[in-house]
């Protein structure tokens, strides 16, 4: 059995990995590497859940690790990557409002803000120690960073990535703050999969309606000509 302090140390290292993947998702212009960054982030979460199991020994954590691995490391990234092949969008270079550098600066500011705010709110509750507090802060920060991606990118696929990253933040927060019943985690994953399915299919829909769009445009011109003649 490894000592608890070693495990806690390892978790802290993984925290850094999560921050790096989040920053990568925010700044990348290449969709495919965004997806692999997301898969890496999810894998990190799986590892964290396993290490937490080492500390707390609650079997729910094992179940969470398993379901996260299956859904977020394997199924969802694979699905997004295959959709992306289909619609041949490789890059999302458009940023609304925020450039990548500004986003990074904003994220740092957000983290500080969350740290201060959460410190105040949590003062009343029995948050156990530093590690758990940091986990909660990181969870919410990850959520806000994901939200920034969702609202600052143009392509629906990148928005999905942002949303997924937000959801990872929620999971992280849940892991460190409290022990939710497993059924809830399970239902969230189901919800997530349906959402990803729908939004990506809709994205393909946008692509396929383009032809229809041209048809309508064409009709419009015809009509104009008729009126002129």
């Amino acid at each position: 059995m490894i000592e608890t302090t070693t495990l806690a140390g390892l978790i802290k290292v993984l925290f850094v990995a999560i921050v790096i993947t989040a920053a990568y998702i925010i700044t990348t212009r290449n969709l495919l590497s965004g997806v692999s960054a997301y898969a890496t982030q999810s894998l990190t979460l799986v590892l964290i859940a396993l290490l937490l199991y080492g500390i707390e020994g609650s079997p729910v954590l094992l179940a969470i690790a398993a379901i996260t691995f299956a859904s977020k490391v394997l199924i969802i990234p694979y699905f997004i990557a295959s959709i992306q092949e289909k619609i041949r969008i490789k890059r999302d270079i458009e940023f609304h409002f925020l450039s990548p550098t500004t986003s990074l600066v904003v994220s740092v500011a957000l983290m500080l803000l969350v740290y201060i705010a959460l410190g105040r709110v949590m003062a009343a509750s029995a948050i156990r120690d530093n590690l758990f507090f940091f986990g909660a802060v990181l969870g919410i920060s990850l959520m806000l960073m994901g939200m920034m991606v969702t609202f600052s990118r143009k392509r629906a696929l990148t928005k999905v990535l942002g949303f997924l990253s937000m959801e990872n933040g929620v999971l992280l927060f849940g892991l460190f703050v409290t022990e939710l019943p497993f059924i809830i985690e399970f239902l969230i994953v189901i919800d997530l999969i349906i959402l990803v399915l729908l939004t990506t299919i809709l994205t393909v829909g946008i692509d396929s309606t383009l032809e229809d769009y041209h048809k309508r445009l064409h009709r419009f011109h015809l009509w104009e000509e008729e009126e002129r003649s």
Binding site: V121, A124, A156, M166, F173, L180, I184, I188
Partner: protein
């Protein structure tokens, strides 16, 4: 057991939709489902089983109280009306080629599933379960918006999903907070609403407020509260009108329902003052934004959608006042708004079928000569419009009047602002009707409009809802009053 009955009805309806050979059969399956739901809920209420605990229901995650059954009844009535309306409306979409025949099955399957999940959401005792049901309703209803597969429909649906779902994640964090608070208090932790209500008075105020604020963000987005309302006019205007009615009349209630439930918990703690202020602030801002957006609006369906935003604001203000009388009328307003708004969307749907632009789906409907081509729908809009702005003797009048009266006892200044904004919104609606309904084509010009023959089943729901509104505004039965009073008592206001 009742849950099983609901699920069984849905299964039968789904089987009907899948086996259905044509549009009529699928539609009949959905009408039958909503009627069965209504009868089931009505029977459950009348047989005196409400409030039912976990044991009577058969699952610890669910319960039936008066608020839940109230929302279920409103939803099933509206779903029945909307399904009957869809019979004619969807037929029109199929004929004009706006809806592919292949999508029909998906449309009705999603429709049937949406009703089941809505009912489960309203009967969920466990808040996390409620959250997931609410989230699923977003996804399924977005599918109904996108079913027309036009680009702007898909854009509207995607916007709806992203705004509602990302905000709902904040709600989830809020629920995690609530769970953690209850765990600190009791040692085991619960997310069951009934359990939380029992121990709420022991919650520390600060963290309870934080939990409420987080929950509020998500459900505010779901019900189109400022500043998360931006998805609403797009989605409601682009959706097929039968779906718009359901979105406005039922789906928005889910968000408000969530806010009511969690507010009832927070109301027991010491922090209800701050939370009330927050609700009032966002309520007034929402009404304001909606009123000012309505003034320049030339698109009828968007105008009606903004009116929904306005009414959600009124509900928040009613909730913020939090006196038993205000809560009573806030609950009444939920029903009044749902029925009125559905009838308006139905009428607007007929006008849209008649006057929609054949060149671009983005173009504003070119409404003229309404009393020649569509007198029925025109009167539907006029009467429904009078009802929604709160003309005396319509149900909305009573709820607005009493909510504002209660508001006046707390803050005359806010009352004055609200009156001004409500007047502005009413004027915007009146101005729209006056300018567009009086447009008459020059008789010398050869008419280029092909009259749209409105099927009877599109008119029936409108007649039914308007009749319901007229009666509902004139007659208050003892049963109705005691029913809503029971809800107020169960929410402990």
């Amino acid at each position: 057991m009742i849950l099983l009955a609901f699920a069984l009805c849905t299964l039968v309806a789904l089987a009907g939709v899948i086996a259905g050979r044509d549009h009529r059969q699928m539609n009949t399956a959905c009408i039958a489902q909503s009627v069965a739901f209504f009868l089931l809920a009505g029977w459950f209420l009348l047989s005196g089983q409400v409030p039912a605990t976990a044991l009577a229901i058969g699952s610890q995650f669910f319960f039936v109280d008066h608020l839940g059954i109230y929302e279920v009844l409103i939803s099933t009535v509206l779903f029945t009306c909307a399904a009957i309306y869809a019979r004619g409306y969807i037929e029109g979409l199929l004929e004009s080629g706006e809806l592919q025949k292949g999508s029909l099955r998906l449309f009705y399957a999603a429709w049937a599933l949406l009703l089941l999940i809505l009912v489960l959401a309203f009967l969920a005792d466990n808040l996390a379960l409620f959250w997931i049901c609410a989230e699923l309703t977003t996804i399924i209803s977005a599918m109904l918006v996108a079913i027309l597969a036009a680009r702007e429909n898909i854009d509207a649906a995607i916007k709806y999903i992203f705004i509602a779902s990302t905000s709902m994640l904040f709600s989830f964090i809020g629920f995690v907070f609530l769970f953690e608070i209850s765990r600190t208090v009791t040692g085991t932790g619960t997310l069951n609403w009934t359990g939380l209500m029992g121990i709420a008075h022991t919650f520390p105020a600060g963290i309870a407020t934080a939990a409420f604020v987080l929950v509020f963000i998500g459900f505010a987005a779901k019900s189109g509260i400022f500043p998360f309302h931006t998805w609403l006019p797009e989605a409601h205007a682009k959706a097929p009108s039968a779906v718009s009615a359901v979105l406005s009349g039922v789906l928005l209630n889910v968000g408000i329902y969530g806010i009511i439930r969690v507010y009832a918990i927070i109301h027991q703690t010491g922090s209800s003052g701050q939370v009330s202020f927050l609700l009032a602030l966002f309520g007034v801002l929402t009404v304001g934004i909606a009123a000012f957006s309505m003034v320049p609006q030339r698109n009828l369906k968007k105008l009606i959608a903004f009116s929904s935003v306005e009414n959600m604001g009124i509900l928040l203000v009613g909730l913020a006042v939090a006196t038993p009388v205000a809560i009573f009328w806030m609950l009444f307003h939920i029903m009044a708004h749902s029925f009125t708004k559905a009838s308006l969307f139905f009428s607007a749907g007929i006008l849209h079928r008649q006057y929609r632009s054949h060149l671009s789906s983005e173009a504003v409907d070119d409404i003229r000569d309404v009393f020649v081509y569509q007198p029925f729908a025109a009167w539907g809009i006029i009467i429904g419009g009078l009802a929604i702005i709160g003309m005396p003797l319509f149900p909305v009048f009573w709820s607005k009047f009493f909510i504002l009266r209660e508001l006046g006892t707390i803050s005359p200044v806010v009352l004055f602002i609200m009156l001004f904004l409500l007047f502005l919104a009413a004027a915007a609606l009146g101005y729209f009707v006056l300018t567009t309904f009086t447009k008459i084509t020059d008789p010398a010009r050869i008419p280029d409009i092909v009259p749209y023959r409105t099927p009877v089943n599109m008119k029936l729901p409108i007649i039914f809802l308007l009749a319901l509104l007229v009666i509902g505004g004139l007659v208050f039965t003892q049963g109705e009053v005691s029913f809503i009073s029971r809800i107020v008592a169960e929410l402990r206001f």
